[in-house]
Structures are given as C-alpha cells and as structure tokens.
Symmetry: none
DNA sequence: ACCTTCGGGACTGCCCGTTACT
DNA sequence: AGTAACGGGCAGTCCCGAAGGT
C-alpha cells in the first residue's frame, strides 16, 4: 500500500480510537510509522489530510449505497429504501465512528464540509427522482441520518433487538 | 446578570459566530468583558465551561418541549408530536447552531456527553409511554434529530417552503 | 487555636503531604478551612507565610535542642553532643520532612533564608564555646546536618539498625 | 557542540545565576539561543530537561571522584578520603551552586531523585568496601555532604581559612 | 476578622509547518 | 520520497494579590 494511503488509514485509526482531539500530525505519523516530515510531504497541511479522510469516507458511502441500490428491486422509493439498507449495514460507513469524528473535524473547519455538501445534494436529487411522496422519503432519510449521528455520539435510541423492527417499520413506510 | 452567566453567554456567542475551533478561554473572556482570571475563578477548567454550556442547552430543551407538550392535545403520540413541534420552532434550541457546536465540543471530549445521555434516555421513556407503535414514534423522533444535526452541519435537506410540508407529513404519521 | 496558627499548620501539612510545589495560598486556605481572603488578612504575601513557617521551624529547633542541652552532662563538646542527640530524636524537627521542604521553598526565594542564617551563626558560636577542638566539633555537626538533609531527600546512608551505631560513634568522638 | 548540550548548559547557567525559581523553558531557550520549540523537541517536558541536568551532575561527580581516587594512595578509607578531597576541590561539582539548585528542583518533583539515589547507593557500597570502621567513614562522608548542602544554602560553617584545618582534621580521622 | 470575586501575569506543553539534508 | 531539527505561536492552567463587601 502506498505511504499516502497508510497515512490516511493511520489518521482514521487515531480518530476512531482516541477522538478528534487527538488527531495531530505527529500522532498520525507515529501510527503510520512515518516521520512527520513524511506526512507533510504528502499533505501540505493538516486540512489537506482531513480532506483526504473526508474524500475516502464519501467514496465508501457511494460504494456501499451503490451496492445496495443494485440489490434493491426497482419501484417507488428505491433510493430511500437503499438509504435504509445502507444505514443498517453493520459493516457500512454508517456504523463507523470515524464518520462522527470527521463531522467534528469538519465542524472545526467548516470549509472541509464543502465536498460533503455536494454529495449530500446528489443524494437529495436521487431521493426526489423516485419518491412519489418526497416528504415521506425525506422523513425516512432524515431518520436514518439521525440514527447515524446518534450512534456517533454514543446515543442509542434503539438497541439491537428493536433495530430490526425499526428497519422493517421504515421499509413498510416506503411501499 | 451574574458574571458566571455572562461568561456562559459569551461562550455560546463565540461558538455560534466563530465555530467550536475558536472557543478558547481567552476569547470567551474577551467577549464576556472579563479577565481570564475571572473566567478561571468560575470554571476551574475549560471542560467545566463546556459542561455549563451543555447544562444550559439541556435546560432550554426541557423548557421549550415542556411548553409545546402543554399546548399539544392529549392522545396517542403526544410526546412524538411535541418533538416535531419543538424541532420546527424557529426560536427553539433545535435551530440554534450552538447545539451543533456543542456536539462537536463533546465529540472532542466524550465525557462531556454523559449528562446529555441521561436526558436523552428520559426522552426515549416519554416516547415509549404514549406511542401505540413505538417504532413509528422512534422513526419520527430520529428524523427530527437528523434534521437538527443537518442544520447544524449546514446541510439542508429541505428549504423553508417544503419544511412546512415535511412538518405536516410528520404529524400526519402520528395520528 | 488562633486562625493564624491554623494557617501555618495547614501550610506545613501541605508541604509535608504534597511537596513544596503544591504550597499555594488557596491550598493552604482550603486545608486550614479558611478562605483565601482570610489567609491574605494574616499574611500580606506568600513570602510572609513562608517566613512564619521558617520562624516556627526555628523555634522548634531551639526548643528541642535546649531540652537536650539541659539533659546533657556538662563538659567539653556539650553543644556538639546536644546536636547529635537532637538529630537522632525521632520526634525532633530534624526528622520532619517539613524541614527539607522549607529548604526548597527558601532556595526559591533566597531572602527567606536570612533569619535561618542568623540562628545558624548562633549555633556555630555555641559549638565554638565549648569545643576543645573546634574542627572536631564542626565535623560532627556537619555530619548531623548532612544526615538531616539526606533524610529530607529520601537518601538513607544508614538504616535504622546502624543509625544507633553511628550515633554512638559520633558521641565517642566527642569525649 | 550539539544543540541538546547547549540547552542543558544554558539551563545550568540559569540556575546558577538566577536560582531555581527562574528556571523556565523560555529562559533556558533564550540563554541557549534556541527557540522554545527547539527545546521542546529535545526535551518533551521540563522534567526531562531537569533529568538531563541531574544526569550531567552525576557524571561530573563520578569523573572528579574517580580522578581523586586514582591520586589517593591505596589503603584503608581510600574512598572516604576521596570523598574529602572531592568535596574540597574548589572546581569540583561540590562547589558548584548548581548542585543545590538541582536539589531544590528535585525536592519539587521527588521522582527526579530516583537516578540520584541509585548512584548514592553505589557510593555507600564503595565506602563500605574499604572502611575498617564503617561508622567512622560514614560520619566523615555525611560531614562532607553536610558541608556541600550548607554551601548550597549559603550557610558557611567554616570560612576559607579554617576549611583547610577541617580538611586535615577529617583526613586525620581516616588513618 | 474574614469572605467572594476578579485582574493580570507567567509558565508549561502542544502542535503546525519550514528548512536543510539525504 | 523521506527525515531530523527547529521556529514560533498560542491555548490551558495556575496562582498571587487587590478590591470591596459583611
């Protein structure tokens, strides 16, 4: 794996295990087993590194949701149903605390949110494209987002057992 | 107003106008028109200050949601409907970017989330108490949370005009 | 007991239990169960407080050594012998870590050593007054001082069992 | 000379000329003609710097006492006599006020004493190895220590003229 | 006699990014 | 492509002492 990738991985790990506050160039370098100079060679600035992390997160989201979209039968609310499936995938990015950590990182420097906003708009467009009742689709999508955020913050509205029921209830609203 | 309150206010303002990254003791002191020594007298540490901010946010939430609960006619999903009303109140805490900023602050030091988790559990209990179909109530509540978080992050799933329609759609699901 | 005394006591305790670095007006106040304002009323400045601590230490030394001097039979090296007895008194000030802590405090602000230097000169005079061979007396006295300092620093040249033998050897040199 | 050494030198100078209380990272950096960032690169914390100073002091002691040991004729009390010679060397570490300052620094953070205790134990072993009467050797060694400490604290039991006589008296007790 | 509040200054430690070198 | 050393800035904390009340 390229050094560049190794560094992004390391940064992810740091955030996951120690929190955003501990994400420093030195720490990322140490975990990646590279000198700080090495990090600075690949990422001119810390923001650059965070940008790369955001980009990777986005890619991962696209990838997984594309996967579920393909599995999902065609018909109304296909994208909304995809969102539900994606959010409940235990291996998906929605379950990765890195997401929340990145949100925090971005909250610190709001500019880093820009690329995320772009893909977010794309998701909305998709929702609109196949939702007979957009408000209905939007509510479900927002509920999924809310669930993700809550997971990131350690808040658990639903435990594992009722999660399945919530998933079914959400899908039931999309038929 | 007491100096202590003035300082918390100032901290809120700083976060609102400059972002979490700019929340520093010096800055809060400057805005509150108090010396840093004064701040440190009231809050031994920065975490103390953030804790106070969280506490105030919680109080505000309780207050507003209590207000809407009283206005809401009795019947099924009364608490869920209250959540919807509260989230759409343009003057409520849900519309205050301070909320999102605090989320970020807490993401940095996860311990500060503890008091919030407590009240969150209480909200869940309330939801359970009057929701004939808990999954339904939970989905709506999570959707409201998701909307709040998105607002905090500058993501707007719905603009002002459709917001009203979403609100009605949400309430329609709670009858 | 007077508040003033309580404060000095508290300061002593703080130094004993937490080290010189932890001796602050606030801490002393807390331990003495008095507000800082109370402390500042009795001691205009922190140096004042330290001065009082030094004064008390000196008083204690004088008291104990006077006690042993009275017990000690008259004859050559009576004062030197008194020094030995005093240093080996397990309850004497020489065994109190406060002594070493004060040394450190004084090393920080050398001016606070002045009163101590005065009494130190008096002790030398006493030694001179009844030592047939002053060098002999001085060596023994310095050895006792060295032992005290070492105890303060946690260095133990001699453990308890040989301490007695050292004491006897020292006294044997003073006959 | 390496920057690292320059910094330790500077710290020594600061302590010697301004006292422990004035030893700050900034001051050491200034005297060493290095930025604070540079200092922090070599010494993660202030304790680290002090540790380095202690280590250097110990090295110096070993060096000088080894020197005198080689000059000292073989026979009983050879190590005790070495201690006496070392303590009276006007250029030796025993005459360097840095010693007292370091003691103070260590009194503030007792952990920094640990390496010193180790070498201290070694000195005791040496004393034991060639002292026909250990108590005698110990008393002389403690007297030398006491003299050093007193010099550090600005207490002068003996002025220059009698110092020589004390030295001879000490050596006379070691034959 | 004693307390609460606050001002102001100083120090530690952290962390980003530059430079010179390889 | 990668490193070690270093610069500079600043946030967080601590702590002394002043001011004015009770």
């Amino acid at each position: 794996m390229s050094t560049r990738e190794k560094i992004v991985d390391a940064a992810m790990t740091v955030v996951r295990e120690q929190g955003v506050g501990r994400l420093t160039l030195d720490e990322a370098a140490k975990v990646a087993n590279v000198s700080k100079g090495g990090v600075l060679y690949h990422f001119k600035t810390k923001d650059d590194l965070v940008r790369a992390m955001v980009a990777r997160l986005i890619d991962r989201c696209e990838e997984v949701s594309q996967h579920y979209y393909n599995l999902e039968p065609d018909g109304p609310y296909r994208w909304a149903r995809t969102v539900v499936r994606t959010c409940f995938d235990p291996n998906g990015p929605a379950s990765d605390p890195v997401g929340g950590a990145l949100m925090a990182a971005m909250a610190i420097n709001p500019d880093l949110m820009v690329p995320f906003r772009t893909v977010y708009d794309r998701w909305i467009e998709r929702l609109k494209s196949d939702s007979p009742d957009f408000e209905r689709g939007a509510i479900i999508a927002m509920a999924m987002d809310g669930m993700c955020f809550e997971r990131m913050l350690g808040l658990n509205l639903v435990n594992e057992e009722v999660a399945e029921r919530v998933k079914l209830a959400a899908l039931a609203l999309l038929t």
